[in-house]
């Protein structure tokens, strides 16, 4: 009951009109920043921190949290409408989000994304209120070996992404792993596959790859078909999802919340892993898995819910342990420090009122974002009224700008173009693209945790089987890999699906 009282106190403190204005402004600014290509939540929050410097601590943190949601949602808007992800965590949304746009359901996709974000964020915040401490401790149980085992489960889900041919899916997956190796070796510091180029020391930029492989290669492949296959905007009237779409989204949101919340608790896990695995989970477990890749609402609802649940769950390690679980959270942590607050368990003892006001504002921020964005869906989608030929040129422009603004480096534009051509080649060869993206995201995390684990065990691979959590996870991974063979699931799951 104490918790409840304190939360109510927090709501009272957060609901002053100034704080509401800050929260609203934060959501709005964040959304606008998020829509600008290339500027994701990290840069967005960092860019706007100065604005909050002279506010009182509670107001400043409330506004920053709101900016943080806003940018995350803004990134989704360009993913869905322009096939250009504003940030890594909504990259996977482009597949079905843009496919929905092409069949005139952009409004429904954006509305579901907003609702999913709200659901995921709110449930994760409830978790923060109800059980922050035990959940934070749970995150700590995931050490390097468990982290590696989780990545094994993630990679094993590749079988769900296989189209007609498992061999082709594996080719795609191996390609992704190979690309993820580019850059400086994280342990020994030796450059790998950089061909002497400084630009490759950091590896290839994930967003540039995604924009190229999914966005550019799709536009390049239009030429072959007809101009008619480019965006139609017939369904502008249908801004809201219909009843079937709502019904189909609900289980996806539930899965997305679970995945995002669980992974968000683990320090070092990124939001893009959550959204990616949520997508793959849809591909494997959704009732309409066959439609994924062709504009299925599940492909938007799952990942978008997951990345918001992740973002909010990642606040739990910050509040309970003082550990920033992701780069964006670290920016927030910096803001806390600037305001003289040290995140961690002492926050609740020394600045209890403020801590609860911030938590209350997380609920308010999520709600405001929903209220702000659903009415704006109409405005955003009106962009599709632009004639197809002009719109395509605009999308290309957006892609180039988006790739450039990742690091303000022209090299990323070339990466984007190169991967666009690669994507086109793979489409021609009927090699699915999604497995490559999966391994590209998971590869570096897998490598890091593998090498840390082996240092802990001093070279003994038994470490993955001696520890209960990692043993169970590895077992799950093996089962998933074997599931098509064992026909645990209907083989229909792996039917023809050229898109992914």
């Amino acid at each position: 009951m104490d918790t409840l009282n304190e939360l109510i106190g927090g709501f009272a403190a957060a609901m002053t009109w100034q704080n509401l204005v800050f929260a609203f402004l934060g959501c709005l600014l964040g959304t606008i920043i998020g829509v600008l290509p290339g500027i994701g939540p990290v840069a967005g929050v960092a860019l706007l921190i100065p604005l909050t410097m002279n506010l009182d601590a509670t107001g400043a943190i409330i506004m920053l949290c709101a900016i943080f949601y806003g940018t995350a949602y803004g990134g989704t808007i360009t993913s869905v409408l322009l096939n250009t992800p504003g940030e890594a965590a909504s990259a996977i949304t482009t597949i079905d989000g843009y496919a929905m746009t092409k069949i005139g359901k952009a409004g429904a996709a954006l509305t579901i994304a907003a609702v999913g974000s709200f659901v995921g964020g709110t449930i994760a915040t409830l978790g923060l209120v109800a059980a922050a401490k035990p959940l934070g401790e749970m995150g700590l149980m995931v050490g390097p070996p468990e982290f590696f085992a989780l990545m094994v489960v993630g990679i094993s889900l590749l079988v769900a992404l296989a189209g007609k041919s498992m061999v082709k899916a594996l080719i795609s997956g191996a390609l992704g792993l190979l690309i993820s190796m580019v850059g400086i070796d994280p342990v020994a510091g030796a450059p790998r596959f950089t061909f002497g180029s400084d630009n490759l020391l950091d590896g290839v930029s994930f967003v540039a790859v995604i924009v190229g492989v999914f966005g550019l290669s799709e536009i390049l492949s239009y030429r072959k078909d007809s101009a008619a296959s480019i965006v139609h905007a017939p369904g502008l009237r249908s801004l809201l999802p219909n009843r079937t779409e709502w019904r189909r989204s609900a289980p996806s949101m539930a899965r997305g919340t679970g995945i995002g919340f669980g992974l968000g608790l683990i320090p070092g896990m990124t939001g893009s892993v959550s959204s990616l695995l949520a997508y793959v989970a849809e591909k494997k477990f959704s009732k309409h898995r066959n439609e994924l890749g062709h504009g299925a609402i599940e492909g938007v609802a799952g990942p978008e819910t997951a990345n918001n649940a992740h973002a909010n769950a990642a606040l739990i390690p910050l509040f309970t342990l003082g550990i920033p679980a992701s780069p964006t959270i670290a920016v927030l942590m910096g803001a806390f420090l600037q305001q003289g607050l040290t995140p961690g368990p002492t926050l609740f003892t020394e600045h209890s009122e403020m801590a609860w006001a911030i938590i209350a504002s997380l609920f308010i921020g999520n709600l405001l974002l929903l209220l702000l964005n659903v009415p704006l869906v109409g405005l955003w989608t009106s962009i599709l009224r632009v004639p197809a030929s002009i719109l395509t040129a605009m999308i290309l422009l957006f892609m180039v700008i988006g790739a450039y603004t990742i690091n303000f480096n022209v090299f990323d534009v070339f990466v984007m173009i190169a991967f666009g051509l690669l994507g086109l080649a793979l489409r021609h060869l009927d090699i699915p693209l999604a497995p490559m993206v999966l391994t590209l995201v998971l590869g570096p995390l897998m490598e890091r945790s593998l090498r840390e684990s082996l240092e802990i065990s001093q070279g003994d691979f038994g470490i993955f089987l001696n520890r209960p959590i990692s043993m169970v996870l590895i077992g799950v991974g093996v089962l998933i890999v074997l599931s098509p063979l064992l026909k645990l699931r209907k083989p229909k799951a792996l039917n023809e699906d050229p898109e992914t």
Binding site: L25, P50, M53, P186, V187, G334, I401, E455
Partner: protein, 334 residues
């Protein structure tokens, strides 16, 4: 990009206006007509370690004051990996125009170019030191439920069974790795190093989750943990006790002649125009010595120890000499 910047600036301006209307004064300081920095062109401050670690925190504390002093945006950008090498490479390959500066921490920045196996593309002279901020001594800590209550007990146990305990570092040849090597050389106690190349927050997380036995870190990393009783700090590797850990004996007090730690400052790529360097140095001095920053650094267990660009450069050269001597200790294959 100019268009984006303009758009972002417009958004920011609109927000500023709105905020002033709310009764808060969020005006930014103006720089005079000087060419550097151009208004609206932001300065990138590269932090070569992941967010949340001590280097990152320090950079984020000085950042707002730098912004005020320079009259433009300063953006802290994390480029973690390879024990800082990725970020340092990026810093030194940036144009020396003052719009890219970086946090430089030793030993990582001093040592990485010394070992040819790492293929670093920079040397000491690729950097133009702008100012030193802190010296952060190394510490060794065990789990709160560990049977070892004193440094001697721990080291004796490690001597009896070499490599039986794992100890975290923040990467190959980082301060923590050097500290472990120095302990081994001076006392004969050998731990099995686990390199968390993404930085201190990953190492600390693994220690809190009891995935490694020993936390080798800096004073600043453990001050809060020690307060909360999540780590038992057994020794500080300096000659004097750390003010934020008054109850922890130094290695010297315990009879071991080991001194190690991390030194942090800020640098630019070599070749800055003099006027730009002066301006950055002055702004950094202001930011580093700002009483509220010093106070906040103290809260985090960090002792501010400012040195000007020239003095920092000299200090750096001296460190390089010292590290060359112990380098073989951290080069062998683990």
């Amino acid at each position: 990009m100019p268009r984006i910047r303009i758009a972002a600036a417009a958004v920011a301006a609109a927000a500023l206006f709105a905020l002033t209307a709310c009764g808060s004064n969020a005006g930014a300081a103006n720089s005079a007509g000087d060419a550097f920095p151009k208004k609206g062109k932001s300065i990138e401050l590269i932090v070569s370690f992941s967010s949340g670690g001590a280097v990152d925190t320090a950079a984020r504390l000085v950042q707002p004051i730098l912004e005020k002093e320079l009259g433009t945006n300063v953006e802290v950008v994390n480029k973690p990996g390879a024990g800082g090498q990725i970020g340092y490479t990026q810093l030194t390959s940036a144009k020396p125009d003052g719009y890219t500066i970086g946090a430089t921490g030793s030993p990582s920045v001093v040592v990485s170019p010394l070992d040819p196996a790492r293929g670093a593309k920079y040397t000491r002279t690729s950097f133009q030191p702008l100012g030193r901020q802190v010296i952060d001594p190394a510490v060794i800590a065990v789990q709160p439920d560990s049977p070892y209550k004193t440094l001697k007990e721990l080291l004796d146990a490690a001597k009896a069974k070499p490599k039986s305990m794992t100890a975290s570092t923040t990467g190959l040849q980082t301060g923590e790795h050097f500290a472990l090597a120095q302990i081994q050389e001076k006392t004969g106690a050998e731990f099995a190093p686990v390199h968390f190349s993404e930085g201190a927050s990953q190492a600390t997380t693994a220690f809190l989750g009891k995935h490694v036995d020993i936390l080798v870190a800096n004073v600043s990393d453990v001050t809060e943990l020690s307060k909360q009783g999540k780590a038992r700090v057994l020794g500080v590797m300096t000659t004097e006790r750390a003010p934020s850990l008054p109850d922890v004996p130094t290695f010297k007090e315990s009879g071991y002649d080991v001194e190690a730690g991390t030194v942090r400052g800020y640098s630019a790529p070599a070749g800055l125009p003099d006027a730009v360097a002066k301006k950055l140095e002055a702004a950094l001095k202001k930011a580093i010595e700002d009483p509220t920053v010093v106070k906040k650094m103290e809260d985090l267990g960090l002792q501010t120890s400012y040195l000007s660009g020239a003095d920092y450069a000299q200090f750096w050269a001296g460190q390089e000499e010292d590290f060359k001597k112990v380098l073989p200790l951290v080069q062998k294959k683990d």
